[in-house]
């Protein structure tokens, strides 16, 4: 009875804390400007099914794809097992699904155990890639300290949780063979039965092992759940809405700034009376709140895999730009603003901004807008849109474009071409051989 009460308290606290943090992230995301990503629901569901559920963009790197698939399937299916643990915890039962499900239960437990081994394998491979092989993709200026340890914490936690699960089953299996207490015979334990010889033979020692692992496993999962909102691992939740709200336009199409259209129409035609579009906003983005909620959702979805940076031509040739850093900076900044709101109220200004305090102009001007980063992202994140918005701010609000680009602008404006040629010479090519 005491165990049940403790369990319910832990479970309640974990869910409360998690909901609170998710609500905070949701609030932070909605600090962004509105953008319409609700058209064509049919196509959006398809995109989500393909990209998030079907993992189709992962396959470009087969090793990572297979390993990631193990962890992904393991995560989804293990939730069935967690459901049983929850019910057992609340009602003080033991393996409540064993009797009603009969043979199917044995099959399910078998499947979970095999998956647990696959997850373990994948986590070990992933740890090696990061810490032994030092895969280049996982290094870089933005991948120090927290981002580096975050990845390792996630992998180690998953290894511990899977180990606890298998050890728990092994002890349970041994107790079943002893026909001890409520440990009913519950199907095959294909992996954990192999571990059984490693455990003590005494019933009381086995019960302790089983209980310790049970509590460690479920409390571990609840702690891990609460770790998610602070971690890149949050992608396991946001990958789904993030792909649902994907950009469905051609990648080459940049957003149209309707606010500019009015002003340009007025410039070209003095008799034009602009429509009232409400209070004038800022052109482009200086800070994260000038970006759209979708940009901010993408920042929270980014799992820092670095596929974007790995294919970025600027990054490859040693320039400062790293699309992954753009996303991480955006997330760090919106989190900082969120924390300021929690501490000092919603109108607090800290005098900082995404531009300059987080992302330098040198990074922004190195982008060739080639869309390789957008193509490479397994969950359809678009770092290019943020780069473009920030360039817009620098050019239109500050007039601080590099001098050579200012020359190009004035050539376009005065000569109708980015080079200093006369408009009258534009057709000279027709006279040549």
């Amino acid at each position: 009875m005491i165990a049940q009460i403790i369990f319910i308290i832990i479970l309640g606290a974990a869910i409360y804390q998690f909901s609170k943090n998710v609500a905070k992230i949701r609030r932070n995301i909605l600090l962004g400007k509105d953008t319409n990503r609700k058209d064509q629901p049919g196509l959006r569901w398809t995109v989500m099914a393909k990209i998030a559920l079907g993992q189709t963009k992962m396959v470009k790197r087969p090793v990572a794809a297979v390993m990631h698939f193990f962890i992904y399937v393991g995560f989804i299916i293990i939730n069935l097992e967690v459901l049983e643990i929850m019910i057992d915890g609340v009602f003080g039962s033991h393996r409540i699904f064993a009797n009603p499900l009969g043979g199917l239960y044995g099959f399910l437990i078998g499947a979970f155990e095999v998956l647990a081994v696959l997850v373990l394998t994948a986590c070990i491979v992933f740890l090696c890639r990061r810490n032994v092989i030092h895969l280049k993709r996982f290094t870089g200026t933005e991948m120090t300290q927290w981002p580096k340890s975050d990845a390792n914490y996630i992998l180690i936690t998953e290894i511990l949780l899977m180990t606890a699960f298998l050890t728990m089953n092994a002890a349970d299996y041994k107790l079943q063979l002893l026909h001890f207490g409520h440990y009913v015979s519950a199907g095959s334990f294909p992996v954990s039965s192999l571990l059984a010889p490693l455990l003590p033979d005494g019933a009381s020692a086995l019960v302790i092992t089983e209980r310790v692992c049970w509590w460690f496993h479920i409390v571990g999962i609840l702690c891990f759940l609460n770790y998610l909102p602070y971690s890149k691992h949050f992608h396991i939740l946001l990958a789904f809405p993030n792909t649902y709200y994907s950009n469905l336009n051609a990648k080459g199409k940049f957003t149209n700034m309707a606010s500019v259209t009015n002003e340009v129409k007025a410039m070209l035609d003095p008799s034009y009376i602009p429509e009232n579009t409400g209070e004038p906003g800022r052109f482009g983005a200086k800070d994260v709140t000038d970006l759209t909620w979708k940009n901010l959702m993408e920042a929270y979805t980014c799992t820092e895999c670095g596929r974007c940076t790995y294919v970025c031509p600027a990054n490859i040739t040693g320039k400062l730009l790293s699309p992954r850093k753009i996303m991480m900076d955006t997330r760090d900044r919106i989190t900082e603003i969120g924390n300021n709101i929690d501490k000092h109220g919603k109108d607090h200004q800290d005098g900082k901004s995404l531009l300059d305090n987080y992302i330098s102009r040198e990074e922004l001007w190195a982008c060739t807008s080639c869309n390789a980063c957008v193509e490479a992202c397994p969950v359809n994140i678009n770092p290019l849109e943020i780069i473009t918005e920030m360039r817009r701010y620098i050019v239109m609000e500050e007039s601080q474009a590099p001098a050579s680009l200012n020359n190009m602008f004035s050539n376009v404006e005065n000569n109708g071409a980015p080079w200093k040629y006369s408009q009258a010479d534009r057709f000279n090519w027709a006279e040549e051989q």
Partner: protein
């Protein structure tokens, strides 16, 4: 090779005669002013003449689409250019546009509708593919590319930007030649380094220039010809080849040039 001067029809002339061409050839700034790109412009015209498509150009009435301004963040200048161009295009009742520049192609096709310009836009490689499919264009009567190793460099704004990967390859497939792909191609293609308004500024400091990284891919593929489909890529690739002192071994040719040569135009 036919070196007779071409009579290039302009929209103004056509309108004066009360005629409307089937298609407008949007030349673009590079195609109008860049010495190398002007040859490609003329080759596109030769192809259009050869197959007898009724077309015209805007000539001195053409203006920059605003693409480099938009990529650099100058939305004001972009929309100014766009609206002025749309006025001219609509004034001539233009419905269909072919262009030799993926940047013009992307901007007119995707971004002009946002400021009121709606046209059917195709890239010259798509037109060539269509003409081949229709049997109007073959690879006969001209230079033979037999046995040459040719590779194709995907321009970002044609490939990743608009998913046009097959059309330029189709134009090469009808040649009796050895087509090879670089290790980075199609959606994994590497930028030439000129997009996003980089063409008009010095690159940021780094280990090397992007076009040098790209030329290494061309050299690794042991290609004798690298086919381009964008005037900016043309400049960057040509510079890269020169920088590596490979001008004798590697030629950079646009798909339109290759097509024109193969057909003896």
């Amino acid at each position: 090779m036919n070196n007779e001067p071409l009579a290039i029809p302009t929209m103004a002339e056509m309108a004066a005669q009360g005629k409307e061409p089937e298609i407008l050839f949007w030349v673009g700034c590079a195609g109008s002013f860049d010495e190398r790109a002007r040859k490609i412009t003329r080759d596109i015209c030769k192809i259009l003449h050869h197959v007898g498509i009724s077309y015209a150009v805007l000539g001195t009435e053409e203006n920059c689409t605003g693409d480099p301004a938009k990529r650099a963040g100058n939305e004001f200048l972009f929309q100014m250019q766009a609206m002025m161009n749309i006025q001219v295009l609509d004034g001539y009742n233009i419905k269909k546009i072919v262009t030799g520049c993926p940047h013009c192609f992307n901007t007119i096709k995707n971004e002009y509708p946002g400021v009121g310009g709606n046209y059917e836009v195709i890239h010259h490689t798509q037109l060539i593919q269509q003409l081949i499919n229709d049997g109007k264009l073959k690879a006969e009567g001209g230079e033979s590319f037999k046995g040459k190793r040719i590779t194709y460099h995907d321009p970002c704004y044609l490939g990743r930007g608009n998913d046009v990967y097959e059309a330029p390859r189709a134009a090469l497939e009808i040649l009796d030649t050895e087509l090879v792909e670089m290790k980075r191609c199609k959606s994994n293609g590497l930028c030439c380094g000129a997009g996003g308004a980089q063409m008009f500024k010095e690159p940021e400091p780094g280990k090397k220039d992007i076009n040098m990284e790209r030329i290494a891919d061309v050299i690794e593929a042991k290609a004798q010809v690298v086919a381009a489909a964008c005037p900016f890529c043309m400049t960057m690739l040509t510079d890269g080849v020169k920088n590596q002192d490979k001008e004798q071994e590697i030629k950079v040719l646009d798909i339109a040039e290759i097509t024109a040569r193969a057909n003896g135009l």
